[in-house]
Structures are given as C-alpha cells and as structure tokens.
C-alpha cells in the first residue's frame, strides 16, 4: 500500500532528514513509526501526504509513484489520506460538526450525505453530544477525537497519525489507539508516528524505528501483555 524505495530527504539548509529509507506497508496493515525527536518521523509522514517531496528515491501508494503526481493533483491524493496531528489542527471558529464535515464539503457531498457521515464519525469517537461545541470548549482528548473523526469521515484507505497521543495521559492514549485499531480492522492502512515507547510495547504491531534519518529496525513487536 505504502512503499518507500531508497528515499532520501535533504532540506534546503543542507540538513538531511531521511537517508535511503525503504519499507513496504501492506494494505490493511497497522504500524508504528518511532524514533527520538528529529529522527525524521514527521518528514516521512509529510512525504506520504506530499507536504514535502523526496530529494531521491521513490514513494509508491497503491502502485502509483508520487513523483508523477503534479501539484494540481495533490489535493486529490490528500483526499485518500486521513491525517491526524498532535496539535489537532481544528478550525477554532467552527463547531465540531463543521470541522468534521470539512473534507466532505470540499469533496462536494450533498447536505444529507454530509450529515449522515458526520453523525456516523461522531458516534465512532463518542462525541455525538458535543457536535455543536467549539473546539476550545473540549478537553485535549476530545479535541484529538474530533481530529480523528475528521480524518476518517470520508473513509480513506490510508490513515497517518503524527504523535496522536503526544499531549494525552496514558489512559486516554490507549483509548485513542483502540480507535485506530478499529479503523484498521475496517480495512484502513494505519501508520502512527510516536515516541511513546510504552504505548508501542503494550500492543503487538509492526514497528519502524528511525535513527538520524535511517531505518534502524523494522520488526514485529512480539507479545507482551497489554
């Protein structure tokens, strides 16, 4: 589903963020991306959503080379990728409902369809009662769940999360991860960047470890109690 072939990324200042990274994430797979801060986790996610372009190598999504995607087509690629951010990136002046509806409105769904899908997404993240709230009236965990609802509302085949539990206490973090597991079970390919090793240890998923921009480990986390 997501395939990196010898991907390197050097920023304009000469700073190398990724060095010849290769991996292949299968369809319907869920994996963690880990490493200390500055190891290149965010850069890797940005390359998938074409917020950055690689300096060398090729990235393929579902067999399509991203280097062939022109800037005018980028929005259509992003519609296939649900993105979740540490700082949520919600629109402050819009209600929870409107925030979640945004991707659907952009894609041109009808009013009724938007309503149905947003309500379904709200139910999945258990925020139905707070649909009329503004983001600042919600707790950090709730805001993150709104961000997740927005990412999954148009049922994208790929879900990327950048430190989704960064600001949350461990209990809430597990709740959030359970949500990701649900979507993964529904068929989405999920890639979660996190430095929360404790969290990873509790779940049995493939883990990609970056160190100074290089892929150090790519292994299946084996059973520890959760």
């Amino acid at each position: 589903m997501i395939k990196f072939e010898q991907v390197s990324k050097t920023y304009a200042g000469g700073q190398t963020a990724l060095r010849k990274v290769s991996f292949h994430l299968q369809a319907g797979e869920m994996a963690f991306l880990t490493g200390h801060s500055g190891a290149g986790k965010s850069t890797l996610l940005k390359l998938i959503s074409i917020m950055e372009r690689p300096s060398a190598g090729e990235i393929l999504i579902n067999g399509h080379a991203l280097s062939r995607i022109g800037s005018r087509q980028v929005p259509y690629v992003r519609r296939d990728i649900g993105m979740i951010f540490q700082n949520h990136r919600l629109l402050k002046e819009q209600t929870v409902f409107d925030n979640i509806a945004l991707p659907l409105v952009i894609e041109g769904y009808s009013g009724r369809e938007v309503h149905n899908r947003v309500m379904a997404a709200l139910e999945k993240v258990s925020l139905t009662s707070k649909q009329r709230y503004l983001p600042h009236m919600l707790s950090g965990g709730e805001q993150q769940r709104v961000g997740i609802a927005r990412a999954i509302v148009n049922s994208p085949p790929i879900l990327l999360a950048d430190e989704p539990t960064g600001n949350l206490d461990p209990e809430l973090s597990v709740d959030i991860l359970r949500l990701f597991e649900d979507f993964n079970r529904a068929g989405a390919c999920v890639l979660i960047a996190t430095h929360d090793l404790g969290l990873i240890a509790r779940l049995r998923y493939r883990t990609l470890t970056l160190k100074n921009g290089e892929m150090k480990q790519d292994f299946m986390q084996t059973g520890q109690s959760s």
């Binding site: 917020m51 929005p75 690629v77 519609r79 894609e107 041109g108 085949p157």
Partner: protein, 327 residues
C-alpha cells in the same frame, strides 16, 4: 475522483446523478459560497465596512465628475442656438439678389433654419426696443443693413464647425460681414473637454486604487485565515475551492462600493437641487440637475464589481499558492 484508488468512490461520483442534477449542484454550491462570503463580511464587519467605504468614496469621485460633465453638456445643448450666425448683407444688393441668396441658404444642408430681417424691419425692432425712437426718426435714411440669421444644422453647431461655416458664408458675394458669438461657447467647450480629460485620468487612477484597495484587503484576510487555508489544503481542498470565497468577497466589496457611490451622488444631487433651482428660477429656466440613469447605475455597479473581482483575483492566486501546510 480518486487518483490512487480506482474503485474508491468519492463525493461527486458516488451518487449517480444526471447531468442536470450535477449542473444544479454546481450552481447551488456556488450560490452557497457566494452567500457564505457575504456571511463572512457580516461576521467581521469593521474591516469590510472600512474597505467598502473607501471604495465608495473612490468610486464617487469619478462618478460625480461624470454627472457634472453630463449636466454641463445638457446645459450646453440647451444653449446651442446661441451659436447662431448673423450675416450682414451688402447695402447695394438688390431685393431679388437677396431673395435668391436666402433661398440658397435654405437649401444648404449645413443650415437648419434661416430668418431674414429686412433693413426696415430691423429698424422698426431696434427703435422699439432701444428707446431711440426720437433720435432714429431724425435720420434721413435707414443705416441698418439687411440681416440674415442662420442657425447651423446640428452637426455644425460646435464652436469650430460653426466658425468654418461662418467663413464659408462670409465668402458669398452679397455678404458684407458675418458674426458668430462663440467666444463663450468656445470657453465652455474648452472647460468641458478639460473636465472630461481630467475625469478620464482621475477615473483611471481611482479605478487603480479600487483594485489595490480590494487586493490589499483580500490579502490581509488571507493572511488572517492562513491556518484555516492550511487545514483546508491538508484535507484535500483544491486551490480553486479555496479561491472562491475570496473572489466572492471581492465581488461583494465592489457591489457595496458601487452602491455607496450611487447613494453619495444622489445625496449630493439632493443637497444641491435647492440651490440649483433657485439659480435656475433667477434665469427663468426650469433646469434640474440630472442624476444617473438606471443603465448608468447598472454600469457603475458592473464596473465596481468587476474591479472588486479583478483586485481580489490578482492577489488570491499568488497568495493561496504560497500557503503550504506545515505541521
């Protein structure tokens, strides 16, 4: 449309719509955004209000000049018959020659009307109106020549054309001298054309300022909404989608600016109408100040909306392209 996943459905393709429904949906979406942009202006009224006010003032100036020129022209038109030519005929020409000359003038296509005043009729009129009755009766013979009053055809009434016509008529054999009182008309024409060219220059400059004002306001509102635009881009909005509300805002600015300009002109006109009618009554005229006609008002609105749209378009394209999401 999904580029990467062939079988994946998306908003527009999922529902099986007829072409007609798609067209309706397209227009509905535009109308929704158009109204939404009005809502945006309403929610944050202060900067919009200031911008619209500046636009209104900028548009009022050329529009007022236009109204002034229009009124001056209508005054000028009503004084056109002042451009009448008096031809003084030679004393020695016979009655027959004079009659023949007047007949030829009547057939001249450059001339609209000819009035012949014989020397005796002229004397009678003069003695009546001047009060020199007694003095004139002392004269042995009539000192006045026969006079022909010529009113040029419409195309020959402007100062220069009337002058040419005068020279042409003066060259006739039995004309002693001709007179055309056009100095004041020349002056008026010169002033009107000065105002007109000043108006075109000013209009150009003020239209440019409208363009820049709208552009700058839109640029600021893009900067203010940078975060929102980034989020929109992150969830897959095309540039065109992000452009639209800003373009519609520019259109609204133009609309309200044009409306303010029209209202200001009406207020100025209403304010002046008392003074004007007083002057007019002193001149025994029923002159009234003309405002903008419905067509001219629509034209004004069209121009201002066009400028609003253009100003916003100039800025929106570059600015939105520059904003790229960072996380």
């Amino acid at each position: 449309m999904s580029l990467l996943f062939k079988r994946r459905s998306s908003g527009a393709t999922e529902r099986k719509l007829t072409i007609w429904q798609k067209i309706t949906a397209f227009f509905l979406a535009h109308v929704r955004q158009w109204l939404a942009s009005l809502g945006g202006i309403w929610r944050d009224p202060i900067p919009s209000l200031l911008t619209v006010a500046v636009l209104g003032v900028s548009l009022t100036l050329p529009a007022t000049l236009y109204v002034i020129v229009k009124n001056t022209q209508s005054v000028e038109d009503s004084f056109q018959n002042a451009a009448q030519i008096s031809l003084f005929l030679k004393q020695q020409s016979s009655q027959q020659e004079t009659a023949e000359f007047v007949r030829r003038l009547q057939q001249n296509h450059k001339i609209e009307a000819v009035q012949f005043i014989s020397a005796s009729a002229g004397l009678a009129e003069f003695s009546q109106s001047s009060g020199f009755n007694q003095a004139l009766s002392l004269l042995d013979e009539n000192p006045l020549p026969d006079v022909v009053l010529v009113i040029p055809a419409a195309d020959y009434r402007t100062a220069s054309a009337a002058q040419t016509l005068l020279e042409e008529l003066e060259s006739a054999a039995n004309v002693d001298a001709g007179k055309l009182d056009i100095t004041w008309l020349k002056r008026l024409n010169a002033i009107v054309s000065l105002v007109q060219s000043a108006m075109s220059a000013l209009t150009l400059l003020l239209c440019l300022s409208v363009l820049l004002i709208v552009g700058n306001t839109i640029r600021l509102s893009i900067v203010n909404r940078r975060e929102e635009i980034e989020v929109q881009k992150l969830v897959g909005a095309t540039n065109a989608y992000i452009h639209r509300p800003f373009l519609y805002t520019g259109l609204w600015y133009g609309f309200f600016g044009g409306l303010i300009a029209w209202l200001s002109i009406e207020v100025i006109r209403w304010n002046l109408s008392g003074a004007i009618s007083e002057i007019a009554s002193l001149y025994q005229s029923d002159y009234i100040l003309i405002g903008l006609s419905a067509n001219e008002m629509l034209f004004l609105l069209g121009i201002s909306m066009g400028l609003g749209l253009a100003g916003s378009y100039l800025v929106v394209r570059g600015q939105i392209k520059q904003i790229e999401p960072e996380s």
